[in-house]
């Protein structure tokens, strides 16, 4: 599974962050590596374990981290299925992440599966070819649908330094079995590993399970090469609706205010464009933050949609009041709780904040910060964003020609 960045969508269903107010902060302990954080949920004897390695893809080798995940995934699946569990791999802006979920009684076994991802990989040509093909499919999939295409273009304009976790065609040609081993040696350090456990487990047991991590390989230097990307994006998708994307860089803004503002913007535009599909998202990566709007409208409604989206910051400011901000903040917190109700999602949320901030309670503090966002904070943010030129994307609807025989 490919996760390009931490996307805090101001709505249900996407990768929202945790709501931890009803539960105490995680118990944290410094293990042999990085951090071990545990959220005890004894309701059912299940545990979700999330292991993340903070690592960039070495220059010139975009996609290396995710390639390694694809190389390991078949074996991980087979091992975890023996205990009726599930494994997910994600490559975020900050880290290479493996998550397993299964019975709490299988903690040691599942931890062993995760620890195995930190050993130097042994890669065959056939394996590498299969993994390369999967990465190529993922690169294409990002651009295949209109929704993904618009987001990929917007992201490229807002975060020009960010490369796809699936890499590039140019970097893919550099991956050989020898190169993969060297890349792993350059990326892996035990101290950059952190573990989040959510479920019916105690911090001491989890700490013990991850007390000994594989030693880093001896040689870790990789020749830095230049990353290259295509000068022009792939052809626009075939879409029957018109798609509009608008994104404002919010690099130095309060993240909680940006999240609440995204929710407000979404609701505001949905009221104004009832027949369009509207999403407003808070994008938060190591390269910065952004407030992004993606709208799809039928051809007849496209001019109105463009006007509404273009003027959205101003019109939102005019309709803003304390009650709406409170309701939006409450909505964001409730969506976070709903998203994190599965152990592996709670682990994902807590873990993403740890990866970014390095603190066990970072997710909980963010949750608390959202509640404190007020009208003044949102107005200040809107004013700040209004002074910036947004990145824009416009994908017109495909013209369908009616040919009668």
């Amino acid at each position: 599974m490919l996760l390009l960045a931490l996307t805090l969508a101001a709505g249900a269903g996407a990768a929202d962050t945790a709501a931890l107010a009803p539960v105490p902060p995680p118990a944290a302990a410094n293990a042999a590596a990085g951090m071990v954080a545990v959220h005890r949920q004894p309701a059912i004897p299940i545990v979700a374990l999330r292991l993340s390695l903070l690592a960039d893809d070495p220059p010139g080798y975009a996609g290396a981290g995710h390639l390694l995940q694809h190389l390991l995934l078949p074996s991980l699946r087979e091992q975890v299925q023996r205990v009726g569990g599930e494994v997910q791999v994600t490559r975020g802006a900050d880290a290479v992440v493996y998550t397993v979920v299964g019975p709490a009684s299988e903690l040691d076994y599942l931890a062993g599966v995760l620890r195995s991802t930190l050993r130097q990989p042994s890669v065959g040509e056939a394996q590498l070819v299969a993994a390369q093909r999967e990465l190529r499919d993922e690169r294409g999939a990002e651009w295949e649908t209109a929704a993904g295409h618009v987001r990929a273009l917007l992201r490229g304009r807002l975060f020009p330094e960010e490369l796809s976790p699936a890499g590039t065609p140019a970097s893919a040609e550099r991956f050989t079995p020898e190169a993969v081993r060297s890349l792993w040696a350059a990326m892996y350090r035990p101290e950059r590993v952190s573990v989040v456990a959510v479920g019916d487990v105690q911090v001491g047991r989890v700490q013990d399970a991850f007390a000994r991590l594989p030693a880093p390989p001896e040689s870790g230097a990789v020749e830095a090469l230049a990353d290259t990307v295509a000068a022009a994006p792939p052809a626009p998708p075939e879409a029957t609706r018109g798609w509009i994307g608008l994104g404002w860089s919010a690099a130095d803004a309060d993240p909680a205010a940006v999240t609440v503002a995204a929710r407000l913007l979404r609701d505001h535009l949905r009221e104004r464009l009832p027949s369009a599909s509207v999403e407003a998202e808070h994008w938060w990566t190591r390269d910065g933050q952004a407030l992004a709007v993606v709208v799809a409208a039928q051809p007849a409604g496209l001019p109105a949609a463009r006007r509404a989206v273009g003027a959205s910051l101003g019109s939102l400011g005019e309709s803003l009041d304390a009650g709406r901000v409170r309701a939006a903040a409450a909505g964001v917190r409730r969506d976070m709780l709903f998203y994190a109700r599965r152990p592996e999602r709670m682990a994902d949320v807590v873990g993403q904040f740890i990866d970014r901030a390095g603190q066990a309670d970072a997710a909980q503090r963010f949750y608390a910060d959202v509640e404190r966002v007020d009208e003044d904070a949102v107005r200040a943010l809107l004013a700040q964003l209004a002074e910036r030129t947004p990145a824009t994307v416009d994908v017109p609807p495909q013209k369908i020609v009616n040919r009668t025989p």
Partner: protein, 407 residues
């Protein structure tokens, strides 16, 4: 602590925590499982109303009524960040509500008022009828749906109300009126037919009191269903599709070991699913449905039409071989290890646990979740032997010219 001991201790905690901390008596028709570490509250409301309360011409009325009753409150629930799903079972209407801890009481109050106190909304009735009709037209074109209908007809018999789909037919739903819906609400969406389960970070007594306010003074009327009258098996039905669909339904008695039956279903599906020696199986699945008077294990596979007869036999082999003798200990240990993980993951959301708890209360079952820890080869054997003979239904284009039986 060994793995087995830790698992047993964990399950013991699961089994004992609710009774010690506030699980309620069944006659109160509310059960509460306090879960301090869970981030949201899930409420499952089951109302004993379904096809048995409909005439054949009214098929789908119960489900339409449930949707009409809840449509007007959806904006309110959205504003609370609450999520509601409505399901039609053969024996009950299920309302699954999840909400944040600070909103669950208001959300559940809104739901229960809508079910028990509000009259039918005419605009909602028109909209939901049109929407349901459109959904059913789509569903009725699916071979999976056709198979389910044929299996129900075969398992329950031609006169049984459960032979009809709980959601009805597009041709019956389109004729239902506001008066039908309103009459159904008054007669059947009533507290005495209702049980509820609450799971999440709640105070047990307060949660009980909150729900009991809507159910107080209403003695629980456990649902009673006519016994099924299955038709002669096998049933073959011609159906225009590329693949053939086969289902086998094994009835079981009310005192069956349900977790063992679930494991049996999982083992059977493992033995039937696509693999190196089973390349022609497109899909295989098992489902266990528990009702007050027992239930059924239903296994379904999708295969090429030319292989129908061979696979029909193999379904029964995949189940019946577990009744021949006790599974070898090492093999059982391996299989149950996997099954436990799969089963626990089915219950990894608070709403799944609320649904399970409400269903237990509804059918009068007790503490099934705890049975996972003591699942052994003897219990598996006993469950396999407790199954009654299967009703087999085959749906597809019959390439051998054999006329469809039971026409």
């Amino acid at each position: 602590m060994t793995r087995a001991l830790l698992f047993r201790a964990a399950l013991a905690a699961l089994a004992t925590l609710p009774p010690a901390a506030g699980t309620l008596r069944a006659q109160d028709h509310v059960v509460v499982r306090p879960e301090p570490g869970t981030p949201v509250v899930a409420v499952e409301v089951l109302v004993a109303a379904g096809p048995a309360e409909e005439t054949p011409e009214q098929a789908g009325l119960a489900y339409l009524t449930a949707r009409v009753a809840t449509a007007p409150i959806r904006p309110i629930l959205d504003s609370l960040g609450a999520h509601l799903t409505v399901q039609a079972h053969k024996d009950a209407l299920g309302f699954t509500l999840t909400a944040a801890p600070d909103a669950w009481q208001e959300a559940s109050r809104t739901l229960l008022v809508a079910l028990f106190r509000d009259p039918a909304d005419s605009l909602a009735a028109v909209r939901e009828r049109a929407a349901l009709r459109a959904e059913l037209i789509g569903r009725e074109a699916s071979p999976a749906d056709a198979l389910a209908r044929e299996v129900d007809a075969a398992v329950f018999g031609p006169e049984h109300p459960w032979r009809r789909p709980a959601a009805g037919f597009s041709t019956t739903v389109e004729k239902l009126t506001l008066a039908d819906v309103d009459g159904f609400i008054r007669s059947y969406l009533v507290p005495e037919r209702t049980v509820a389960a609450v799971v999440g970070p709640v105070d047990a007594a307060a949660a009980r009191e909150h729900l009991a306010a809507f159910l107080r003074g209403s003695p629980w009327q456990a649902p009673r269903a006519e016994p099924p009258a299955p038709v002669e098996s096998p049933v073959r039905r011609e159906y225009s599709s590329i693949t053939a669909w086969i289902a086998a339904s094994y009835p079981f008695p009310p005192d069956v070991d349900e977790e063992a039956v679930r494991m049996l279903g999982e083992l059977a599906v493992e033995g039937l699913s696509f693999g190196p020696s089973r390349r022609s199986v497109y899909n295989a699945r098992a489902e266990v449905v528990r009702r007050a008077e027992g239930g059924e294990l239903r296994i379904q596979i999708v295969v090429p039409p030319r292989e129908v007869d061979a696979w029909a036999g193999r379904i029964d082999e995949a189940v019946s071989r577990h009744a021949e003798g006790r599974m070898a200990p090492s093999l059982f240990a391996d299989r149950v290890r996997r099954f436990r993980g799969l089963r626990l993951r089915e219950l990894d959301t608070p709403e799944a646990r609320a649904q399970e708890a409400a269903r237990e209360l509804f059918v009068g079952a007790q503490g099934r979740l705890a049975d996972l820890e003591r699942l052994d080869a003897d219990r598996l054997l006993a469950a396999a032997r407790a199954l009654r003979p299967a009703t087999l239904v085959v749906l597809g284009p019959f390439v051998d010219g054999t006329p469809a039986a039971n026409d």
